[in-house]
Symmetry: C2
């Protein structure tokens, strides 16, 4: 690789709102999306909510000359809705299906049936290893009373763990971009420093500064606002940078929103508390080990298709031009940059996530216990009905009530099993968080400077809990 | 790290057969296991089938002085049964729950409820990064008519993908141990070469020879015999070495079997076709990037506890002493070692796995279609019963039949959803295999030497299919 190596990547991301029979003008929108992608010839187009595999196959055929490589990520009953089209060959493909993803009995929400997942493609471009993740987290149906919050936080944690495990050398150096719009600091580098500081035997020789991917890119619909717990957890733990916060050249919707009131497909009532709309779709990135990545330009659609006037989806598309080059010395931070403020911010967000999962676990256990009582009641009722049916008098009524009581029993059994599984899933994520928190605290305690910052971080955490 | 660096690791693995209320002498065996682990003071003890979290907590308390770090991997309704005790601090913990894991209506088999998984711990020992995987795949209940075969192959593939993704740099060098007992060749190195050969722009500079873990260790109950498709797929794709095949110093049961007829807890009827028993528990390992790992000694129990005379479990324990050191020049193979025979063996096993998953998919779809018809029939029946109940004559009988027909409808609906999900899961693994097979073939076609070997590999594949 030449010392003046430089690579330009043009990325497209869109939640396509492609629900068969339900999404308006689906066929027409998919057709126009294909035309647009062919015309623009991005390096990568990452799509979410392509629920119909026929839509994917249609796009695959249509885009074959421009994007010879493609993949559809299958999971759950319906499918993850994720797919990708690439101008460059895809070296590896894999996916991780989130352990927790809503409730099967919330049929009208449907998320459980989709098997929400994160898909990974590995590309090799001019000798550079690029890990591209595409994901779609559980939707938020009611921000005031969000029954899926614990699941979304658990998903964000699984996503962060998956990215860290797959992409990063445990003792790897991270090259950081420059925050221009007040982006959050690169504390995940500190997460690595935690590990290094806790290793008395770690000689830290450069030959063991290992890494896998040179560049990590995450696109998708996170269903998280930028300040939401899940989003902070993901960014703090992985050190991913937000293209919108980093770029100097942004054009598009107000405040980078990806669901805007100008879009005719958007439910205007849901957006009422947010006059400019909400930002829940992201292009996030980082470079590892001696590389530097920056976002040259970021564009969004603005509720209208640039050509035909009607939007491509109820979400806005993100179009980013990223530039990767060898990191100049001034951009390679020394390993001592992981300051106490960054550390306490990580500890604070880990604690917050732990508390949220704990709450979710208590609720899951409550539901499992409740279902247990209903099972007991159902059994009693069934025994009573059998006795009545055998006995005489109200024989017909008793027999009529068999069906609902058997249904109740089966339903309660399923609910019991499901919530037991939910509690196990949340307990697993909580245990992982607790482990990391323990290690982070240990490292923190080694540094007396950190105490004041930790105190400040705790205060911040308390404030956000009060809100 | 010193040039004459050398690390000795003592590993213990046991499937504990710890089913509450069902496994014989559970309490006593868990107690004796704790005593034994404390006495032997291994570096790592990896346990499967610790189904009761109370057993884990008991062991944790008991082993705390000798093994300060421990973790229980929670998943599914019951739990994965996996846990680990370590003398050294655990840096990172994560797990991956297998997408496919049997059928919920096979309650007497129970695997579905466990949420079988692979757990990962990352240890840092004297500057060495050690990734330790512990797993337990779906049990085999009937070897002649194994309805779970496709699921176990899919699990083996997910396991192999998880290990490769997490542990290995995509362009990493692999240091190979020496096969002493005719172990299968290290073809996963070739899997990496496939990637390298297919990269015209890949400069292959040593600075981009990236890696994450220095040593990868996989222990557990794979429920796979050494020549089974899943086992071959796992070994060929990951390049993991089998401690039993590699070691010069083995003592224990005949042919390294881990379920032996001498064990009083073993179902003798099931072992009838195998006079020495079966080998389904493994210690597998590999070293990456300039390290060399070998198995100095391997011991198994032989159906009797060495101290009290009764066995610790229905499985035999594996006790391995591994030695890791810097790889001397003669053990660092040149990148050209990936010969045509190895390549065609990989292609052959990928094809075989693809075919098995394809078969599984067809069956899953058949069941989904069948359940669809049953749903239709159930609806018709219910309508008929309503009409009869309203009409007169056989009113009471009609009402009595409501309950079973509602049950049928709900059951068939659940079966339909489940098998749709199963088909999606199998289809996903098949698509990943197909992608890898495509790339492997492309690379193979570049090398005219390979053609004869491919032909031989195909013949071998055909033979194994005939058996």
């Amino acid at each position: 690789m030449k010392p003046n190596f430089s690579l330009r990547l043009r990325i497209f991301n869109l939640n396509c709102w492609g629900i068969p029979y339900l999404s308006k003008h689906r066929g027409d929108r998919v057709k126009r999306l294909g035309d647009f992608l062919n015309m623009e010839s991005f390096d990568l187009a990452l799509l979410e909510e392509v629920w119909s595999e026929q839509d994917f196959q249609y796009l695959r055929q249509k885009l074959l000359p421009t994007y010879p490589a493609s993949h559809y990520f299958r999971s759950g009953v319906i499918g993850s809705g994720l797919c990708v089209f690439s101008k460059h060959p895809i070296q590896e493909i894999t996916q991780h299906v989130y352990t927790l993803n809503g409730y099967p009995y919330m049929i009208h929400h449907g998320d459980w049936f989709c098997g929400k997942a994160v898909g990974l493609l590995v590309l090799h471009l001019s000798g550079l290893v690029l890990n591209v993740y595409v994901t779609h987290l559980h939707a938020e149906y009611n921000r005031q009373k969000d029954i899926y919050l614990a699941h979304r936080v658990a998903q964000a944690w699984e996503l962060a763990q998956f990215i860290q495990c797959v992409s990063l050398g445990l003792t790897g150096e991270v090259g950081w971009g420059q925050g221009l719009r007040g982006g959050q600091g690169p504390t995940s580098r500190w997460a690595q420093l935690v590990r290094r500081e806790l290793l008395p035997h770690q000689p830290g020789s450069p030959s063991h500064t290992s890494k896998k991917a040179d560049v990590v890119l995450l696109c998708g619909d996170l269903n998280l606002h930028p300040k939401d717990l899940g989003c902070r957890l993901l960014k703090e733990w992985t050190g991913l940078h937000d293209a919108y916060l980093e770029t100097r050249d942004f054009k598009g919707s107000e405040e980078g929103c990806t669901m805007v009131p100008e879009n005719c497909y958007v439910n205007q009532r849901e957006l009422q508390p947010f006059p400019f709309g909400i930002r829940i779709d992201y292009v996030l990135y980082k470079a590892v080990s001696g590389f530097y990545i920056s976002c040259k330009t970021l564009r969004t659609t603005t509720g209208r298709d640039p050509h035909s006037g009607t939007p491509l989806s109820d979400h806005e598309a993100l179009m980013a031009t990223l530039c990767v080059r060898h990191s100049p010395p001034q951009h390679t931070p020394s390993p001592t940059h992981g300051g106490p403020a960054e550390r306490s911010r990580l500890i604070s967000v880990l604690k917050e996530a732990w508390a949220e999962l704990d709450l979710g676990m208590a609720q899951a256990r409550w539901w499992a216990t409740f279902a247990g009582y209903v099972i007991g009641l159902g059994l009693l009722l069934l025994a009573l009905l059998c006795a009545l049916a055998a006995g005489g008098g109200v024989r017909e009524v008793a027999i009529m009530l068999w069906a609902p009581s058997v249904g109740l029993l089966l339903g309660a059994g399923a609910v019991y099993l499901f919530h037991m599984q939910e509690a196990k899933g949340l307990s697993r994520a909580r245990a992982e968080l607790q482990h990391m928190l323990g290690r982070a605290r240990e490292a923190h305690d080694l540094d007396p400077e950190s105490q004041a910052a930790l105190f400040l971080g705790q205060q911040e955490g308390d404030r956000s809990e009060e809100q």
